[in-house]
């Protein structure tokens, strides 16, 4: 670990300004990802701005009937919140399927969104990795890439985003609220937070220097049944091979609307408008779910060991959509 300096942020704007002021400065919240990466010297910040004491720990009702989740709300608290459990069960399920109880106690909402990939070559300092060392190459291509992307990847990077929470939030059409170093705030769809790797996989978000996430806004709960299905190599404490967040609204045997997001398959939580379009307005049934799964994966491709994920994702989608589409 490289030596670094540390300060505790006095306020939101001050925090953003402090990070913007010096390149190599990072926010630290729960630290469950950053500290591991610092120990391995994959992250090497020269200065940390601790935002744990900022007033960002509330979950509040919005006038529209949604929830505003403070950036520092721990994953455990969010999963256990009765409003979340009743109105956004998908989000609670996704949170509880991630990490371990100890990690969820520490991990924050914004930190979860911003966690970095688990690609093993990203962690192997002696090997090329375009995300870690831009321009050095991608060791995962042609290497052990069973856990890698089937959607949205590029020549430069095939790593996946590891979050479960973000997949559920994507299906819920969440928005992200931020503050910048000059105090300006903005809000934008979560789908616009993460960038696809393209030729610059080291640039993972659309946040400006010092821009800090202050909240995630959930719109009023969408109609329909919500399900989160995570497929993994062991029953707990494993990253998703494939996960599906599905919300399907069925009335009188007809699908009125659907929301679909996938995890473990792409460099960002993957929203599938194609899958949603295939379902909307159609009679509920296994065939239409299969067609929607095919549509959602029409652009999927994989090299090497991850090839199985395309069919796994298709099967998981088909089944999860079919269950979500069941009349209750």
């Amino acid at each position: 670990m490289k030596p670094f300096t540390y300060e505790r942020a006095a306020g939101l704007r001050e925090a953003a300004a402090a990070v913007a002021a010096r390149p190599g400065t990072k926010f630290i919240a729960g630290g469950t990802n950053l500290i591991d990466l610092m120990k391995l010297e994959i992250e090497q910040p020269i200065h940390l701005v601790d935002i744990n004491r900022l007033p960002l720990r509330l979950i509040e009702e919005t006038p529209e009937g949604g929830l505003r989740i403070g950036a520092q709300v721990p994953n455990s608290d969010l999963a256990a919140d009765m409003r979340v459990r009743r109105r956004y069960p998908l989000l609670s399920q996704a949170l509880l399927s991630g990490a371990s109880a100890q990690l969820r106690n520490k991990a924050s909402t914004a930190g979860n969104l911003l966690q970095r990939t688990r690609c093993p070559y990203f962690y192997e300092r002696g090997m090329p990795c375009n995300k870690r060392d831009p321009g050095s190459g991608c060791s995962a291509r042609g290497g052990f890439n069973r856990l890698h992307a089937i959607l949205g990847a590029s020549e430069a990077c095939i790593a996946v985003h590891p979050s479960d929470m973000a997949v559920a939030m994507t299906a819920l059409d969440a928005r992200v609220e931020t503050i910048q170093s000059d105090g300006r705030t903005r809000a934008f769809p979560l789908g616009e937070l993460h960038r696809l790797p393209g030729t610059t996989p080291h640039i993972e978000t659309t946040l400006a220097a010092g821009e800090m996430i202050t909240a995630v806004i959930l719109p009023p709960p969408p109609p329909g049944r919500q399900l989160y299905r995570k497929v993994r190599d062991r029953a707990s404490y494993a990253f998703a091979l494939v996960s599906v967040a599905a919300i399907v609204d069925v009335a009188a045997g007809r699908i009125r609307s659907a929301r679909i997001a996938m995890g473990g398959v792409a460099p960002k939580p993957w929203h599938s408008a194609e899958g949603e379009r295939a379902l909307a307005g159609r009679a509920a049934g296994d065939e239409i779910c299969a067609a929607a799964a095919d549509a959602a994966l029409s652009g999927a491709r994989a090299e090497g060991h991850a090839a199985f994920k395309i069919e796994l994702a298709r099967r998981t989608l088909r089944r999860t959509l079919a269950e979500a589409a069941q009349d209750v």
């Binding site: 670990m1 490289k2 120990k39 010297e41 093993p120 090997m127 190599d233 069919e311 796994l312």
Partner: protein
């Protein structure tokens, strides 16, 4: 130096103490309150500096340049040691040691040359005042390598396959009985299948760690080791000093599983740096460094060929193992050796072959031989049973040998059939779906599987000292280790019972090489060997006490007939008279008495085939959409001689069974054939079962008498649990799905493509 590693029970007097009782661990309170100090936590009078190992980022080649200037100037750094300035050490030597035992004691130099033999081999040790300073400075070392192409793929067409001269533990490389080829060709029912098992890593919870301190020419090492004599000899041979000048202390060990039998780089690094600096140095491997530097189970391909008549009687058995090994040091896991003793067949052949790779050497990972070998053989038996239309238990019963089928000697005891029958009854085996893939609950396919367990029973030579003081307090001493198994507790039980004192009167002191030497913890022999030595020491001590009581002029028992001596209730009973040991010793031996007892492998190991046996049963559920295989419940029934402590023994068994679940379903250390490095080298990506993966695991012991191995009638159990348990899970997956996966671990991607859609 005050000893903080004398262990004594904190349980109430009067609690059951006898051998065979489920006594609580006497070291339990120390461990759960944090007072049991592990190697890296040990406190010395002088502050120990922190060493951090920098590993090579290539797998084969040599160091061209190494620039340590920036690291040396970094804050807190005291020493940067590389091959250029490390003290001279003995050479590593040949890939195969002249004798079997020398593999445990050979010199294992570090930072000895510019050659790189495997990825992450230490290239520098940075010593600083804090761990963070050492680690931070290690990053500042600049290296330039000349990388050379290496062999990293055992299945490559140009792989160098050869026949080793012997296997691990000195077994013959091959065994041939009868005419396998002919019998197999003529067999009306045949099975020919290849099973692949991957590299696996032990990863005990406590990583390898050492603190080294020199006093003149004398070296003391606090480390985490299973067998202190090996560490002592390994260090002495590496540093070219007398073993008498090396003291190894290892009272508490956070798991070993075979990865702590020999000296590893952190211990040698600590000893070298402490010598150079003249102050204590501590070094631990990081979790990531463990994968390349602390041993692994080699990757294997195992071909099993079985020939049987139509009634299911085996006529031909062949087990051919091709395993990875290291170019610079051979290790041959004896995976076909259990096949030599498990089933009857007149014609048989077993073989071990190796493929040289440029990795570090494989080591003894829990149940070397059986763990991997039974994964293949016991799946093959399941496949054969299906071909024959026989229940897998019935097939095994029909092939039960009367004598060891290759050695042609009697078994000391063999209750495999009883284990299978008892287990079938308890588990509800009769409810097993007969047709694979036929039972469905919702979106889950349900299946049952079973497999046999066999594990060789050994005894390691060694001794122990038992002393009794003038107050009647007993101390047991040996350089034995308790690697989490319960050794402290069972030795206290043996001494308490043999001397007729309460458990609270017994202290146990282990883990110090200055105490009587034992064979340590390994090969499942720890309990039998050390408790035999304690038992024998107690017998001698009893005789000393009784003789003194009968002859000492101040003894109230003077003149009694010592052949009638009984030690019970804290008293010596001689005929109708009795006296408490405390008041007796005070008079007849105010300085106390002491005796040393030993254990040695007797003639019975030659004249009998000695094994523990068992049967595993597993129920799994496989998701029909995704193929996710999950254990639902598991039962192991074992016959392993006398069980010294059913509570600690049960922990051993279920831990072993879970180990097998991991081997069947998820454990795999991935070697990148391009770079020769282990890819998934942390516990996020190297999966072992978590609680949610192992619901309902139970172990049962059948009563068994076996007087051939040792006077206590005990057999080794540390490894029996993971012998065959993985195969039971694999067979259950087949029963659930009709999909036979022979490429371990059985991950969902190998199952779901064969499952129906929708």
């Amino acid at each position: 130096m005050a000893k903080d590693y004398i262990v004594q029970t904190t349980s109430r007097p009067g609690a059951a103490t006898a051998i065979g009782q489920p006594v609580d661990r006497i070291d339990g309170a120390l461990k759960v309150t944090g007072r049991a100090r592990y190697a890296y936590e040990h406190r010395l009078d002088r502050a120990a500096a922190f060493g951090y190992i920098l590993g090579a980022s290539i797998a084969k080649g040599r160091i061209l340049e190494i620039d340590t200037g920036d690291a040396e100037r970094a804050p807190g750094v005291i020493l940067v040691m590389t091959h250029r300035n490390a003290p001279s050490q003995a050479a590593f030597g040949p890939a195969v040691t002249p004798t079997v035992p020398e593999v445990f004691t050979r010199a294992r130099p570090v930072l000895a040359s510019e050659r790189i033999r495997y990825h992450d081999e230490p290239v520098a040790l940075v010593v600083a005042e804090t761990f963070e300073e050492a680690r931070g400075a290690a990053r500042l070392i600049r290296l330039r390598y000349a990388s050379e192409p290496g062999a990293f793929d055992a299945a490559a067409p140009n792989a160098e396959i050869y026949r080793p001269e012997r296997t691990n533990a000195g077994f013959p490389t091959d065994s041939i009985l009868g005419d396998f080829d002919r019998a197999f060709a003529e067999a009306p029912v045949k099975l020919d299948a290849v099973y692949a098992t991957p590299f696996e890593s032990h990863n005990p919870m406590e990583p390898h760690a050492a603190i080294a301190e020199w006093d003149g020419d004398r070296l003391t090492v606090h480390t985490s080791a299973q067998t202190l004599a090996n560490i002592q000899a390994g260090l002495a041979n590496t540093l070219r000093i007398s073993p008498q000048n090396v003291r190894v202390i290892s009272p508490f060990i956070g798991g070993g599983f075979g990865s702590k039998l020999i000296v590893h780089p952190e211990t040698v690094c600590a000893a070298l740096a402490a010598r150079v600096l003249g102050r204590p140095v501590r070094v631990a491997l990081t979790r990531q460094q463990m994968f390349a530097n602390a041993g692994h189970r080699p990757a294997m391909k195992q071909r099993i060929r079985l020939g049987a008549d139509r009634d299911g009687r085996l006529t031909a058995i062949e087990h051919e193992v091709t395993s990875s090994t290291s170019r610079f040091e051979e290790f041959t896991e004896q995976s076909a050796v259990p096949t030599r003793a498990l089933y009857a067949a007149a014609n048989r052949r077993t073989m071990h072959r190796l493929v040289r790779l440029d990795t570090n050497r494989g080591e003894w990972m829990r149940a070397p031989g059986e763990a991997s070998g039974l994964l293949a053989l016991e799946c093959a038996m399941d496949e054969l049973a299906e071909q024959l239309g026989l229940d897998p238990i019935e097939l095994r019963i029909r092939n039960e040998p009367e004598r060891d089928p290759e050695r042609n000697v009697a078994f000391s005891s063999r209750n495999l059939i009883a284990c299978m029958r008892d287990g079938a009854e308890r588990f509800g085996w009769r409810d097993r779906p007969v047709k694979p893939g036929s039972r469905r609950e919702g979106r889950k396919l349900i299946g049952y599987g079973m497999a046999a367990a066999i594990r060789a029973n050994y005894l390691g030579p060694g001794s122990a000292r038992v002393a009794i003081d003038a107050r009647g307090q007993v101390t047991v001493q040996a350089d034995m280790t308790d690697i989490g198994t319960g050794t402290y507790t069972i030795l206290a039980q043996v001494a308490a019972e043999r001397l007729g004192v309460p458990l609270s009167a017994v202290k146990v002191e282990l883990g110090d090489s200055s105490l009587p030497r034992t064979a340590g913890s390994g090969g499942s022999w720890g309990a039998s060997s050390s408790s035999t030595a304690v038992h024998n020491a107690c017998l001698i001590l009893r005789e000393q006490i009784a003789s003194a009581a009968a002859s000492h002029e101040r003894s109230p028992l003077r003149g009694a007939n010592i052949s009638e001596a009984r030690f019970e209730g804290g008293k010596l009973h001689l005929g109708s008279r009795s006296e408490s040991l405390g008041s007796l010793l005070e008079r007849i031996a105010p300085d106390g008495l002491m005796a040393e007892g030993s254990a040695a492998r007797g003639e019975t190991y030659r004249t009998y085939s000695q094994h523990a046996f068992g049967a595993h049963f597993a129920e799994v559920a496989v998701d029909i959409d995704t193929g996710e295989p999950r254990l639902r419940r598991m039962l192991g029934v074992f016959a392993a001689g006398r069980i010294l402590n059913p509570k600690t023994a049960r922990s051993q068994m279920i831990g072993g069974m879970i180990w097998g679940v991991g081997a069947a379903l998820m454990e795999e250390t991935v070697l990148d054939p391009r770079h020769g490095h282990f890819v998934n080298r942390d516990l996020a990506e190297y999966h072992v079962p978590v609680h949610a993966d192992v619901p309902g695991v139970e172990a049962v012991f059948l009563p068994e008498e076996d007087d051939k191995g040792n006077p206590l009638g005990a057999k080794g159990i540390g490894e029996l649990g993971n012998c065959g348990s993985g195969a039971a899970v694999a067979n259950a997956i087949y029963n659930a799905t009709g999909v036979r996966v022979r490429d371990f671990p059985i991950t969902l991607d190998k199952i779901f493509p064969e499952l129906p859609v929708g």
